[in-house]
Protein backbone atom coordinates (compact mmCIF):
# COMPACT_ATOMS: atom_id res chain seq x y z
CA UNK A 1 0.00 0.00 0.00
CA UNK A 2 1.05 3.54 -0.67
CA UNK A 3 1.51 5.92 2.23
CA UNK A 4 -0.40 9.19 2.22
CA UNK A 5 1.27 12.51 2.91
CA UNK A 6 0.85 13.78 6.45
CA UNK A 7 0.53 17.54 6.18
CA UNK A 8 -0.01 20.47 8.51
CA UNK A 9 -3.42 21.97 9.11
CA UNK A 10 -2.15 25.17 7.51
CA UNK A 11 -1.13 23.36 4.33
CA UNK A 12 -4.44 21.52 4.28
CA UNK A 13 -6.30 24.80 4.50
CA UNK A 14 -4.40 26.11 1.49
CA UNK A 15 -5.78 23.25 -0.60
CA UNK A 16 -9.21 24.80 -0.35
CA UNK A 17 -9.26 27.21 -3.27
CA UNK A 18 -11.21 30.46 -3.52
CA UNK A 19 -14.75 29.53 -4.59
CA UNK A 20 -14.42 25.83 -3.83
CA UNK A 21 -17.27 23.56 -2.78
CA UNK A 22 -16.20 22.26 0.62
CA UNK A 23 -17.79 19.29 2.35
CA UNK A 24 -17.19 19.46 6.08
CA UNK A 25 -17.89 16.49 8.35
CA UNK A 26 -19.38 16.81 11.79
CA UNK A 27 -22.76 17.12 13.50
CA UNK A 28 -23.00 20.20 15.67
CA UNK A 29 -19.19 20.00 15.56
CA UNK A 30 -19.06 16.44 16.96
CA UNK A 31 -16.65 14.86 14.47
CA UNK A 32 -15.59 18.05 12.75
CA UNK A 33 -11.96 18.64 11.74
CA UNK A 34 -11.15 21.38 14.23
CA UNK A 35 -7.53 21.94 13.33
CA UNK A 36 -8.07 22.30 9.61
CA UNK A 37 -11.13 24.50 10.13
CA UNK A 38 -9.16 26.78 12.45
CA UNK A 39 -6.43 27.08 9.82
CA UNK A 40 -8.99 27.80 7.12
CA UNK A 41 -10.59 30.47 9.29
CA UNK A 42 -7.19 32.04 9.81
CA UNK A 43 -6.40 31.89 6.10
CA UNK A 44 -9.72 33.58 5.34
CA UNK A 45 -10.38 31.97 1.94
CA UNK A 46 -13.66 33.33 0.59
CA UNK A 47 -16.55 32.59 -1.76
CA UNK A 48 -16.72 29.03 -0.56
CA UNK A 49 -19.77 26.83 -0.79
CA UNK A 50 -20.31 24.85 2.38
CA UNK A 51 -21.89 21.43 2.44
CA UNK A 52 -22.31 20.37 6.05
CA UNK A 53 -24.97 19.03 8.36
CA UNK A 54 -25.26 22.36 10.16
CA UNK A 55 -23.56 25.67 10.82
CA UNK A 56 -22.51 24.53 14.33
CA UNK A 57 -22.70 26.65 17.45
CA UNK A 58 -22.00 30.36 17.64
CA UNK A 59 -22.63 31.44 21.20
CA UNK A 60 -19.86 33.89 21.99
CA UNK A 61 -21.49 35.04 25.19
CA UNK A 62 -20.99 31.61 26.68
CA UNK A 63 -17.69 31.05 24.91
CA UNK A 64 -19.04 28.30 22.65
CA UNK A 65 -17.92 28.69 19.06
CA UNK A 66 -17.59 25.34 17.30
CA UNK A 67 -17.10 23.66 13.93
CA UNK A 68 -17.61 25.93 10.94
CA UNK A 69 -19.07 28.75 13.05
CA UNK A 70 -15.91 30.93 12.89
CA UNK A 71 -15.90 30.65 9.10
CA UNK A 72 -19.56 31.64 8.99
CA UNK A 73 -18.76 34.63 11.16
CA UNK A 74 -15.85 35.51 8.84
CA UNK A 75 -18.25 35.48 5.90
CA UNK A 76 -16.12 32.91 4.08
CA UNK A 77 -19.15 31.18 2.58
CA UNK A 78 -21.16 32.61 -0.26
CA UNK A 79 -23.51 29.63 -0.06
CA UNK A 80 -24.34 27.13 2.66
CA UNK A 81 -26.09 23.83 1.93
CA UNK A 82 -27.08 22.49 5.34
CA UNK A 83 -29.93 20.88 7.24
CA UNK A 84 -29.83 23.06 10.33
CA UNK A 85 -28.77 26.59 11.25
CA UNK A 86 -30.68 26.97 14.52
CA UNK A 87 -27.65 27.00 16.79
CA UNK A 88 -25.77 29.66 14.87
CA UNK A 89 -27.75 32.91 14.85
CA UNK A 90 -25.21 34.55 12.56
CA UNK A 91 -26.03 32.09 9.78
CA UNK A 92 -29.72 32.92 10.22
CA UNK A 93 -28.95 36.61 10.16
CA UNK A 94 -26.90 36.30 6.95
CA UNK A 95 -29.70 34.33 5.33
CA UNK A 96 -32.45 36.73 6.33
CA UNK A 97 -30.33 39.71 5.26
CA UNK A 98 -29.68 38.06 1.89
CA UNK A 99 -25.94 38.21 2.49
CA UNK A 100 -25.39 34.49 2.13
CA UNK A 101 -27.39 32.00 0.13
CA UNK A 102 -28.67 29.27 2.44
CA UNK A 103 -30.17 26.08 1.04
CA UNK A 104 -31.90 24.04 3.72
CA UNK A 105 -31.91 20.34 2.92
CA UNK A 106 -33.55 17.61 4.99
CA UNK A 107 -30.79 15.79 6.83
CA UNK A 108 -31.46 12.37 5.37
CA UNK A 109 -31.70 13.82 1.89
CA UNK A 110 -28.42 15.65 2.44
CA UNK A 111 -26.77 12.39 3.48
CA UNK A 112 -28.09 10.59 0.41
CA UNK A 113 -27.19 13.41 -1.96
CA UNK A 114 -23.61 13.39 -0.73
CA UNK A 115 -23.51 9.60 -0.85
CA UNK A 116 -24.95 9.62 -4.38
CA UNK A 117 -22.16 11.93 -5.52
CA UNK A 118 -19.55 9.63 -4.02
CA UNK A 119 -21.18 6.55 -5.49
CA UNK A 120 -21.57 7.88 -9.03
CA UNK A 121 -25.35 8.06 -8.89
CA UNK A 122 -27.21 10.94 -10.51
CA UNK A 123 -29.37 11.13 -7.43
CA UNK A 124 -32.00 9.32 -5.45
CA UNK A 125 -35.77 9.20 -5.16
CA UNK A 126 -37.19 10.10 -1.78
CA UNK A 127 -40.61 10.90 -0.39
CA UNK A 128 -39.04 13.26 2.13
CA UNK A 129 -40.07 16.82 1.35
CA UNK A 130 -43.05 15.98 -0.85
CA UNK A 131 -45.67 18.66 -0.48
CA UNK A 132 -43.27 21.03 1.27
CA UNK A 133 -41.07 23.93 0.20
CA UNK A 134 -38.30 21.40 -0.37
CA UNK A 135 -40.20 20.16 -3.41
CA UNK A 136 -39.99 23.50 -5.23
CA UNK A 137 -38.27 23.27 -8.59
CA UNK A 138 -37.68 19.54 -8.34
CA UNK A 139 -38.63 16.71 -10.65
CA UNK A 140 -41.21 14.25 -9.34
CA UNK A 141 -41.02 10.62 -10.46
CA UNK A 142 -43.65 7.97 -9.90
CA UNK A 143 -42.52 4.50 -8.91
CA UNK A 144 -45.01 1.70 -8.33
CA UNK A 145 -47.81 4.22 -7.95
CA UNK A 146 -46.01 6.36 -5.37
CA UNK A 147 -44.55 9.80 -5.95
CA UNK A 148 -40.94 10.64 -5.12
CA UNK A 149 -38.75 13.70 -5.40
CA UNK A 150 -35.62 13.48 -7.51
CA UNK A 151 -32.83 14.67 -5.23
CA UNK A 152 -29.62 15.25 -7.13
CA UNK A 153 -26.09 14.19 -6.27
CA UNK A 154 -24.07 16.81 -4.42
CA UNK A 155 -20.35 16.49 -5.20
CA UNK A 156 -17.59 18.64 -3.79
CA UNK A 157 -14.09 19.86 -4.49
CA UNK A 158 -12.57 19.28 -1.08
CA UNK A 159 -13.72 17.16 1.86
CA UNK A 160 -12.50 18.19 5.29
CA UNK A 161 -13.22 15.27 7.53
CA UNK A 162 -12.30 13.96 10.94
CA UNK A 163 -11.50 10.39 11.98
CA UNK A 164 -10.38 8.79 15.19
CA UNK A 165 -7.55 6.84 13.64
CA UNK A 166 -5.78 6.31 10.34
CA UNK A 167 -3.12 3.96 9.19
CA UNK A 168 -0.33 5.40 7.08
CA UNK A 169 -2.11 4.30 3.90
CA UNK A 170 -5.11 6.43 4.86
CA UNK A 171 -7.57 3.79 5.99
CA UNK A 172 -9.88 5.45 8.48
CA UNK A 173 -11.81 4.46 11.59
CA UNK A 174 -14.31 6.86 13.15
CA UNK A 175 -15.38 7.08 16.75
CA UNK A 176 -18.98 6.82 17.96
CA UNK A 177 -21.33 9.54 16.72
CA UNK A 178 -18.36 11.51 15.41
CA UNK A 179 -18.74 9.30 12.33
CA UNK A 180 -21.92 11.00 10.95
CA UNK A 181 -21.28 12.56 7.51
CA UNK A 182 -17.52 11.96 7.45
CA UNK A 183 -17.42 8.67 5.50
CA UNK A 184 -19.98 9.96 3.00
CA UNK A 185 -17.99 13.10 2.29
CA UNK A 186 -14.82 11.05 1.89
CA UNK A 187 -16.37 9.52 -1.21
CA UNK A 188 -17.90 12.66 -2.69
CA UNK A 189 -14.98 15.04 -3.18
CA UNK A 190 -12.01 15.32 -5.52
CA UNK A 191 -9.58 16.01 -2.68
CA UNK A 192 -10.07 14.40 0.69
CA UNK A 193 -8.22 15.64 3.77
CA UNK A 194 -8.68 13.66 6.96
CA UNK A 195 -7.75 15.08 10.34
CA UNK A 196 -7.01 12.18 12.66
CA UNK A 197 -6.12 11.75 16.30
CA UNK A 198 -3.73 8.87 15.74
CA UNK A 199 -1.74 7.41 12.85
CA UNK A 200 -0.79 3.76 13.07
CA UNK A 201 1.25 1.44 10.86
CA UNK A 202 -0.25 -0.14 7.77
CA UNK A 203 -1.78 -3.47 8.72
CA UNK A 204 -2.62 -2.49 12.30
CA UNK A 205 -6.29 -1.90 11.57
CA UNK A 206 -8.44 -4.99 11.06
CA UNK A 207 -9.56 -4.77 7.40
CA UNK A 208 -13.11 -5.76 8.42
CA UNK A 209 -13.29 -2.70 10.65
CA UNK A 210 -12.11 0.01 8.29
CA UNK A 211 -14.86 2.58 7.79
CA UNK A 212 -13.23 4.47 4.90
CA UNK A 213 -10.78 2.63 2.62
CA UNK A 214 -7.43 4.29 1.96
CA UNK A 215 -8.01 4.92 -1.72
CA UNK A 216 -10.58 7.57 -0.87
CA UNK A 217 -8.20 9.62 1.26
CA UNK A 218 -5.54 11.97 -0.17
CA UNK A 219 -3.96 13.67 2.85
CA UNK A 220 -3.74 13.13 6.57
CA UNK A 221 -3.49 15.89 9.19
CA UNK A 222 -2.55 15.05 12.75
CA UNK A 223 -5.13 16.61 15.08
Amino acid sequence: MIEKPVISAARAAKMVGEGAVVHVGGFLACGSPRGVLAALAELGTRNLTLVCNDTAVLDEKNGRVTGVAPLVKNRQFRKMIVSHIGTNPESQRQMNAGETEVVLVPQGTLAERVRAAGCGLGGILTATGLGTEVQEGKQVVEVQGRKFLVEEALPGDVALIKARKADKAGNLVYSKTARNFNPLMAMACKTVIAEVEEIVEIGEIDPDQIHTPSILVDYLVKA
Partner: protein, 221 residues
Protein backbone atom coordinates in the same frame (compact mmCIF):
# COMPACT_ATOMS: atom_id res chain seq x y z
CA UNK B 1 -65.10 26.17 34.90
CA UNK B 2 -61.85 24.45 33.85
CA UNK B 3 -58.69 26.49 33.73
CA UNK B 4 -55.99 25.44 31.25
CA UNK B 5 -52.63 24.79 32.90
CA UNK B 6 -49.82 23.82 30.59
CA UNK B 7 -48.27 20.44 31.52
CA UNK B 8 -45.42 19.12 29.45
CA UNK B 9 -45.06 16.38 31.99
CA UNK B 10 -48.51 15.01 31.25
CA UNK B 11 -47.81 15.00 27.54
CA UNK B 12 -44.56 13.10 28.05
CA UNK B 13 -46.22 10.70 30.51
CA UNK B 14 -48.98 9.76 28.09
CA UNK B 15 -46.70 9.38 25.08
CA UNK B 16 -44.41 7.12 27.07
CA UNK B 17 -47.37 4.71 27.44
CA UNK B 18 -47.71 4.33 23.67
CA UNK B 19 -44.65 2.15 23.33
CA UNK B 20 -44.34 -1.57 23.74
CA UNK B 21 -41.23 -3.58 24.43
CA UNK B 22 -38.92 -3.74 21.41
CA UNK B 23 -40.17 -0.57 19.78
CA UNK B 24 -37.51 1.52 18.12
CA UNK B 25 -38.23 5.13 18.95
CA UNK B 26 -36.78 8.46 17.91
CA UNK B 27 -37.43 11.34 20.28
CA UNK B 28 -37.06 14.85 18.90
CA UNK B 29 -35.28 17.66 20.66
CA UNK B 30 -37.13 19.56 23.41
CA UNK B 31 -40.43 18.31 24.78
CA UNK B 32 -40.17 14.86 23.09
CA UNK B 33 -36.87 14.23 24.89
CA UNK B 34 -38.78 14.30 28.20
CA UNK B 35 -40.70 11.21 27.14
CA UNK B 36 -37.71 8.97 27.92
CA UNK B 37 -38.12 9.76 31.62
CA UNK B 38 -41.61 8.24 31.80
CA UNK B 39 -41.31 4.93 29.96
CA UNK B 40 -42.63 2.26 32.37
CA UNK B 41 -39.96 0.07 33.91
CA UNK B 42 -41.45 -3.09 32.40
CA UNK B 43 -41.24 -1.72 28.84
CA UNK B 44 -37.93 -1.77 26.98
CA UNK B 45 -37.82 0.67 24.13
CA UNK B 46 -34.77 1.16 21.95
CA UNK B 47 -33.94 4.78 21.30
CA UNK B 48 -32.49 5.86 17.97
CA UNK B 49 -30.71 9.14 17.53
CA UNK B 50 -30.45 10.38 13.96
CA UNK B 51 -26.89 11.60 14.32
CA UNK B 52 -25.90 7.96 14.21
CA UNK B 53 -26.72 5.60 17.01
CA UNK B 54 -29.17 3.08 18.28
CA UNK B 55 -29.36 2.25 21.97
CA UNK B 56 -29.27 5.73 23.43
CA UNK B 57 -28.64 5.72 27.17
CA UNK B 58 -28.99 8.39 29.84
CA UNK B 59 -26.80 11.48 30.08
CA UNK B 60 -23.33 10.74 31.45
CA UNK B 61 -22.26 11.82 34.91
CA UNK B 62 -20.54 15.14 35.01
CA UNK B 63 -16.91 14.74 34.04
CA UNK B 64 -17.57 11.54 32.10
CA UNK B 65 -18.74 13.16 28.86
CA UNK B 66 -17.23 11.82 25.63
CA UNK B 67 -16.64 14.47 22.97
CA UNK B 68 -17.41 11.84 20.30
CA UNK B 69 -20.76 10.80 21.75
CA UNK B 70 -23.70 13.18 21.56
CA UNK B 71 -27.38 13.11 20.71
CA UNK B 72 -28.98 15.00 17.82
CA UNK B 73 -29.08 18.10 19.98
CA UNK B 74 -25.33 17.98 20.42
CA UNK B 75 -25.61 17.07 24.12
CA UNK B 76 -23.41 14.39 25.71
CA UNK B 77 -25.13 11.03 26.02
CA UNK B 78 -24.20 7.41 26.64
CA UNK B 79 -24.73 4.19 24.74
CA UNK B 80 -26.37 1.13 26.26
CA UNK B 81 -24.74 -2.28 25.94
CA UNK B 82 -25.82 -3.73 22.60
CA UNK B 83 -26.08 -0.32 21.00
CA UNK B 84 -24.41 0.51 17.69
CA UNK B 85 -23.03 3.47 15.76
CA UNK B 86 -23.43 4.17 12.04
CA UNK B 87 -23.05 6.99 9.53
CA UNK B 88 -25.74 9.50 8.64
CA UNK B 89 -26.83 7.74 5.45
CA UNK B 90 -27.40 4.50 7.33
CA UNK B 91 -29.09 6.41 10.14
CA UNK B 92 -31.64 7.92 7.80
CA UNK B 93 -31.88 4.66 5.91
CA UNK B 94 -33.04 3.17 9.19
CA UNK B 95 -35.50 6.05 9.61
CA UNK B 96 -36.83 6.27 6.06
CA UNK B 97 -36.82 2.51 5.61
CA UNK B 98 -39.48 2.04 8.26
CA UNK B 99 -37.13 0.54 10.83
CA UNK B 100 -38.10 3.20 13.37
CA UNK B 101 -41.44 2.24 14.87
CA UNK B 102 -42.31 5.58 16.34
CA UNK B 103 -41.06 9.11 16.19
CA UNK B 104 -42.10 11.88 18.55
CA UNK B 105 -41.77 15.46 17.38
CA UNK B 106 -42.45 18.91 18.65
CA UNK B 107 -44.95 21.12 16.91
CA UNK B 108 -45.50 24.66 15.78
CA UNK B 109 -48.79 23.69 14.14
CA UNK B 110 -50.49 20.40 13.41
CA UNK B 111 -53.71 20.10 11.46
CA UNK B 112 -56.60 17.71 11.12
CA UNK B 113 -55.19 16.24 7.91
CA UNK B 114 -52.05 15.20 9.72
CA UNK B 115 -49.93 17.98 8.28
CA UNK B 116 -47.13 19.14 10.51
CA UNK B 117 -45.30 22.46 10.64
CA UNK B 118 -42.38 22.62 13.01
CA UNK B 119 -39.32 23.96 11.29
CA UNK B 120 -39.86 27.49 10.12
CA UNK B 121 -41.63 30.76 10.82
CA UNK B 122 -40.83 32.72 7.67
CA UNK B 123 -38.81 35.85 8.31
CA UNK B 124 -38.65 35.17 12.03
CA UNK B 125 -37.24 31.83 12.99
CA UNK B 126 -35.65 29.49 10.48
CA UNK B 127 -33.62 26.87 12.30
CA UNK B 128 -33.93 24.42 9.40
CA UNK B 129 -35.63 21.07 9.32
CA UNK B 130 -32.69 18.98 10.46
CA UNK B 131 -33.91 15.40 10.40
CA UNK B 132 -37.58 16.19 11.00
CA UNK B 133 -38.79 15.86 7.42
CA UNK B 134 -37.24 12.41 7.05
CA UNK B 135 -38.50 11.32 10.44
CA UNK B 136 -42.08 12.25 9.60
CA UNK B 137 -41.89 10.82 6.09
CA UNK B 138 -40.24 7.58 7.19
CA UNK B 139 -41.36 6.46 10.63
CA UNK B 140 -44.18 3.98 10.96
CA UNK B 141 -46.02 5.99 13.60
CA UNK B 142 -45.55 9.74 14.01
CA UNK B 143 -46.60 11.33 17.28
CA UNK B 144 -46.87 15.09 17.52
CA UNK B 145 -46.26 16.33 21.06
CA UNK B 146 -47.59 19.76 21.94
CA UNK B 147 -49.20 21.85 24.58
CA UNK B 148 -52.82 22.23 23.62
CA UNK B 149 -52.87 26.01 23.62
CA UNK B 150 -50.38 28.63 22.64
CA UNK B 151 -49.15 31.10 25.24
CA UNK B 152 -51.56 33.55 23.66
CA UNK B 153 -54.45 31.13 24.12
CA UNK B 154 -54.85 29.98 20.52
CA UNK B 155 -55.20 26.34 19.56
CA UNK B 156 -52.05 24.53 18.39
CA UNK B 157 -54.29 22.04 16.59
CA UNK B 158 -55.51 23.62 13.39
CA UNK B 159 -57.96 23.04 10.63
CA UNK B 160 -55.10 23.72 8.25
CA UNK B 161 -51.48 24.64 8.93
CA UNK B 162 -50.51 28.14 7.89
CA UNK B 163 -46.76 27.76 8.36
CA UNK B 164 -44.50 25.94 5.86
CA UNK B 165 -45.02 22.21 6.25
CA UNK B 166 -42.48 19.77 7.59
CA UNK B 167 -44.48 16.97 5.97
CA UNK B 168 -47.81 16.38 4.33
CA UNK B 169 -50.21 13.94 6.01
CA UNK B 170 -47.44 12.54 8.18
CA UNK B 171 -48.89 12.71 11.68
CA UNK B 172 -50.79 9.75 13.11
CA UNK B 173 -51.24 10.74 16.75
CA UNK B 174 -51.30 14.06 18.57
CA UNK B 175 -50.85 14.13 22.31
CA UNK B 176 -51.43 17.40 24.12
CA UNK B 177 -51.83 18.17 27.79
CA UNK B 178 -55.61 17.82 27.48
CA UNK B 179 -56.05 14.73 25.35
CA UNK B 180 -54.92 12.01 22.99
CA UNK B 181 -56.00 12.43 19.39
CA UNK B 182 -55.73 10.29 16.29
CA UNK B 183 -55.74 11.74 12.81
CA UNK B 184 -58.36 9.85 10.84
CA UNK B 185 -59.39 10.90 7.38
CA UNK B 186 -59.62 14.66 7.65
CA UNK B 187 -60.35 15.22 11.30
CA UNK B 188 -59.07 14.56 14.78
CA UNK B 189 -60.58 11.74 16.78
CA UNK B 190 -60.39 12.28 20.55
CA UNK B 191 -59.51 8.88 21.98
CA UNK B 192 -58.82 10.05 25.53
CA UNK B 193 -59.45 13.19 27.58
CA UNK B 194 -57.16 14.00 30.43
CA UNK B 195 -59.01 15.01 33.58
CA UNK B 196 -59.90 17.60 34.67
CA UNK B 197 -60.55 18.46 31.00
CA UNK B 198 -63.74 17.14 29.43
CA UNK B 199 -64.54 16.24 25.82
CA UNK B 200 -66.75 19.32 25.62
CA UNK B 201 -64.02 21.61 26.88
CA UNK B 202 -61.56 20.07 24.40
CA UNK B 203 -63.88 20.41 21.40
CA UNK B 204 -64.53 24.01 22.38
CA UNK B 205 -60.82 24.83 22.75
CA UNK B 206 -59.63 23.16 19.55
CA UNK B 207 -59.70 25.13 16.33
CA UNK B 208 -60.31 22.02 14.19
CA UNK B 209 -62.86 19.28 13.63
CA UNK B 210 -62.72 16.95 16.62
CA UNK B 211 -64.83 13.82 16.62
CA UNK B 212 -65.60 12.30 20.02
CA UNK B 213 -66.29 8.59 19.53
CA UNK B 214 -68.42 6.56 21.96
CA UNK B 215 -65.34 4.79 23.32
CA UNK B 216 -63.56 8.03 24.18
CA UNK B 217 -62.30 7.57 27.71
CA UNK B 218 -60.64 9.46 30.47
CA UNK B 219 -56.97 9.12 31.35
CA UNK B 220 -55.09 10.28 34.43
CA UNK B 221 -51.39 10.92 34.45
Amino acid sequence: MIEYVESKENIARRIARIFKTGDVVNLGIGLPTLVANYVPAEVTVILQSENGLIGLGPAPEKGREDKDLTNAGGMPVTLLAGGAYFDSATSFGIIRGGHVDCTVLGVLEVDQEGNLANYKIPGKMVPGMGGAMDLVAGSRVVVAATTHLEKTGGSKLKRRCTLPLTAEHGVDIVVTDVGYFEVKGSHFVLKEYFEPYTPDWIVEHTDADVQVPPDCKSWRA
